[in-house]
């Protein structure tokens, strides 16, 4: 492997106003090694993030195509296009893909790209672990799709209720592959959450105190904490489902003291926070886009942060609202009704603060802002149906009907996917150095907005008219025919919109206008460096004095009267040295030496994949599979003499 050449006694350091020798050294230090091995061994956060974003988007398209086939089947009553077995696989794969392989991972992927640039640093924390998280995610997703294309896709829903998903009613390995896909993707998400928390807490530019970090960073920090407490629940659930199916445990077998409802509690304790894991990053995107296109800082920063935190806490207290039709104590259900309604309040705070910001700003109606406006319409409508569903008596009528399908798509697509598209248009110039086409962007937006409402609004009415969910067909003459047809037409329009997006993204790579450093005139740090950023992100790390560093500019004079610092200097340019700062005040604290590119994250991910795959078939895989994992992890951790020599040359005791 082509390591950057450095000797223990090198003295090249970074800083403002340095010459091309330091810049060349920084480039050589931080870029990926060349060739295929270099690509596989890369640990630069931008490299990992780019492939992560592309992969999650690929799953988005796959999930969308699955839904498209479902809509074709449902366009007419009694259609024979798709039989029940395939249809049940389609909706299971659609839900599982969107929830596990797209919605949460894409947010983490975008965060991995943006956070170091926004925080003014050169890397995420734990870059090798970050790479491992990508590989594990990729292998889990691939496994699921390979199994589906082999005709053995899981077919009991993304929520996989027992006893249907248990050994008696789901023979074969379909459900086991689903359950193990959970293990892969949850491991990836948990690892990324640790990366995000540590990056936000410890790797900020000097002067970026916690109350100066962008609201997007707050949203991702809160999301990461939620992941730590929510995902173990689905891990426990899916693992005990596998043991019920593989080695005869009885967690969900009522005949031997188990309980089908235990599954529901464990699944929804994860499942409800899961939708907020998807929603909160969307809120973060909006808080990044609005200030730039309203030309003013966000109104109510503190209230926004507190709202994010309140939403996260409340999200853990709602899960039983997915179980209102189960015979649980009624008094308990009322508590969950109240909590499910009250969680609207912190979201309302955010919405009103955004409107206040727009109201008092000067608006630049570019595509990112259009998608944000689409959010307002769609998410708020979805929030209203959410309030309806929060009430037990109302829910008992529309639960498990197409009304809920409408609701969930309004809140998830409105609350997360529209902001995500806004974010793509917003940050595409930074990632690629080119602008996307505004014209195609407007077409993209309007087709998506119209197609979405055409596809999903009729579903409210279908649910009220008695159409349940997860049905591969329906009979003619029930009053459902026209609404289903309209919905399918909407799906076609959405597909066109997605196609336009792909065309725009691909064409703009070569033909888009050159973006320059800050095409939107934004205020946060990622816009202070080139587009695309150099491998080291910043040739000199900026020192920050406010929430909108680029708008406020470096101060001439700091608190206390001394001239203010503008940039950091003194980090090594010929080895990956990163500045760690203190958690609250971002005072410079440590010079941490970060690892060079290495193949061990990929090898470890392969070893873990082997264990996970093997344990679908035999419990002994857990024992034998641990051995290659132990070897790979040991090799990952074991320091090389050359590395240690470099560290020692730069070492200073605390």
């Amino acid at each position: 492997m082509d390591q950057p050449r450095h000797t223990p006694a090198s003295h090249l350091k970074d800083g403002p106003g340095r010459g091309s020798r330091e810049a060349a050294a920084l480039d050589a230090t931080w870029r990926d090694p060349p060739g295929l091995m270099g690509w596989l061994a890369a640990v630069n956060h931008k490299s990992i993030a780019r492939r992560f974003i592309v992969t999650t988007f690929g799953f988005f398209v796959a999930g969308g195509l699955l839904a498209f086939v479902m809509r074709l089947q449902l366009a007419r009553p009694g259609s024979k296009l798709v039989g029940p077995d395939l249809y049940n696989q389609l909706f299971t794969m659609h839900g599982s893909t969107m929830m596990f392989l797209f919605a949460v991972p894409v947010m983490q992927a975008v965060t991995i790209y943006l956070l170091p640039l926004m925080m003014g640093t050169r890397s995420v924390a734990f870059p090798r672990l970050n790479a491992f998280a990508y590989w594990i995610f990729l292998f889990g997703g691939l496994m699921l799709y390979v199994v589906f294309f082999l005709g053995a896709g899981p077919d009991v829903g993304w929520f996989s209720y027992v006893p249907l998903a248990g050994p008696d009613f789901s023979p074969g390995k379909r459900t086991d592959f689903w359950a193990q896909m959970i293990t892969f993707t949850e491991l990836s998400a948990l690892v990324e959450a640790i990366v995000v928390i540590t990056t936000v807490f410890k790797l900020r530019a000097p002067g970026m105190t916690l109350n100066r970090i962008p609201l997007f960073a707050w949203a991702m920090l809160v999301t990461a904490f939620m992941i730590l407490f929510a995902m173990p629940s689905v891990m426990l659930a899916s693992t005990t489902l596998i043991t019920d199916r593989l080695v005869g445990t009885h967690f969900y077998n009522p005949a031997e003291g188990g309980d089908a409802v235990l599954w529901q509690h464990l699944f929804w304790f994860f499942g409800h926070p899961e939708v907020y894991l998807i929603f909160l990053p969307g809120l973060g995107f909006i808080s990044a886009i609005i200030p730039t296109f309203a030309r003013r800082p966000m109104f109510g920063y503190t209230a926004m942060v507190l709202s994010l935190i309140a939403t996260a806490f409340l999200a853990f207290g709602l899960w039983v609202h997915h179980m209102f039709a189960v015979n649980l104590p009624e008094l308990g259900k009322s508590f969950f009704t109240a909590a499910s309604m009250l969680i609207a309040i912190p979201s309302a705070v955010q919405i009103f603060c955004w409107i206040a910001t727009l109201w008092s700003g000067r608006l630049n109606f570019k595509t990112p802002l259009l998608f944000v406006l689409g959010f307002f319409f769609i998410l708020v409508l979805g929030g209203m149906t959410g309030i309806m569903l929060a009430s037990v008596p109302l829910d008992l009528q529309v639960h498990d009907s197409y009304f809920v399908v409408a609701h969930l798509h309004y809140v998830l697509i409105g609350g997360a996917v529209f902001p995500l598209f806004g974010a793509f248009y917003y940050w595409y110039p930074k990632i690629t150095g080119r602008m996307m086409s505004e014209r195609l962007g407007r077409w993209n937006f309007w087709l998506f907005f119209i197609g979405f409402n055409l596809a999903f609004f009729p579903m409210h009415l279908l649910g009220l008219r008695g159409m349940p969910r997860r049905v591969y067909t329906y009979q003619a003459g029930l009053g459902w025919d026209t609404l289903n047809l309209v919905s399918t037409i909407g799906a076609v329009v959405i597909a066109l919109s997605a196609l336009l997006f792909v065309i725009n993204a691909v064409r703009s790579l070569r033909r888009g206008a050159l973006a320059g450093v800050n095409p939107w005139g934004a205020g946060t740090l990622e816009w202070a460096t080139e587009s695309p950023p150099p491998p080291c992100n910043f040739y000199a790390i900026p020192v920050v004095h406010g929430r909108e560093p680029l708008w406020q500019g470096p101060r001439a004079v700091a608190e206390g009267g001394a001239p203010a610092f503008t940039h950091v200097s003194g980090l090594a340019a010929d080895t990956r040295e990163v500045l760690a700062t203190t958690v609250l005040d971002a005072r410079p604290d440590l010079r941490v030496n970060f690892p060079d590119p290495t193949i061990w994250p990929l090898v470890s991910a392969l070893a873990v994949t082997a264990l996970f795959l093997g344990s679908i078939f035999t419990p002994w895989a857990v024992v034998w599979g641990s051995i290659p994992i132990a070897i790979a992890l040991t090799a990952w951790f074991w320091p090389r003499h050359s590395e240690t020599a470099v560290h020692l040359s730069l070492e200073r005791k605390p």
């Binding site: 350091k13 403002p16 734990f126 009885h250 309980d259 410079p588 941490v592 240690t644 070492e651 200073r652």
Partner: protein
């Protein structure tokens, strides 16, 4: 345009202990995840118990001998663990090596006794829901014992063979923090497995 004014960080330390270290936050995140997992597993145990008239199901409670002995030993291991942590934070390589070796010996004894604990549960994972949840609870904690034993072994070997640098002392300190978690998380699990069936 303000002239650049440099904040020179070249004199900063290159490693530090506790929450100043990045890996401390990684360990903290892992502890948060595993604590949640244990809490949920305990929750599942108590839930299944609440759904049943009789508990334990079809078996006497687990024998107290091996579990209680292991608990006492786990608590006793906090002492060498603390010693290893202090030695590392003082940068004392010989003492760190020795105390880590003592920790490792404790860990091996725990694993052996844990094997006896499984045998003394008086139920199998596939007997019924009680057997399943008890085995999974004990199994989850055992996985942590196994991984911490392996971590400690690898670290100790590394301390003997080198290459050595200040960051390795930080690794020992964080390994010790994780060991505290393995011991303290055991206490509620012990209560649930051994005491709750007897109430």
């Amino acid at each position: 345009m303000t002239t650049p004014r440099q904040l020179d960080v070249s004199g900063l330390p290159s490693y530090a202990f506790s929450h100043r270290s990045l890996m401390w936050w990684g360990t903290f995140g892992l502890i948060a995840i595993e604590s949640t997992l244990f809490a949920l597993a305990i929750g599942a145990y108590l839930y299944l118990r609440s759904q049943s008239d009789q508990w334990p199901l079809g078996a006497p409670p687990p024998d107290l001998l091996w579990g209680s002995t292991n608990t006492l030993l786990l608590l006793a291991s906090l002492w060498p663990n603390h010693q290893a942590k202090s030695a590392a934070e003082a940068g004392d390589l010989p003492r760190t090596r020795v105390w880590l070796l003592v920790c490792l010996m404790f860990a091996v004894v725990f694993l052996v006794l844990r094997g006896f604990e499984f045998a003394a549960l008086n139920t199998r994972w596939d007997s019924n829901a009680y057997g399943s949840v008890v085995w999974v609870l004990l199994g989850l904690h055992t996985v942590h014992l196994l991984t911490d034993t392996y971590d400690t072994a690898v670290l100790d070997v590394l301390l003997f063979t080198g290459p050595m640098e200040g960051q390795r002392f930080v690794d020992v300190s964080e390994n010790a923090m994780y060991w505290y978690f393995v011991v303290f998380s055991w206490l509620p699990i012990y209560a649930v497995i051994y005491v709750v069936p007897r109430i």
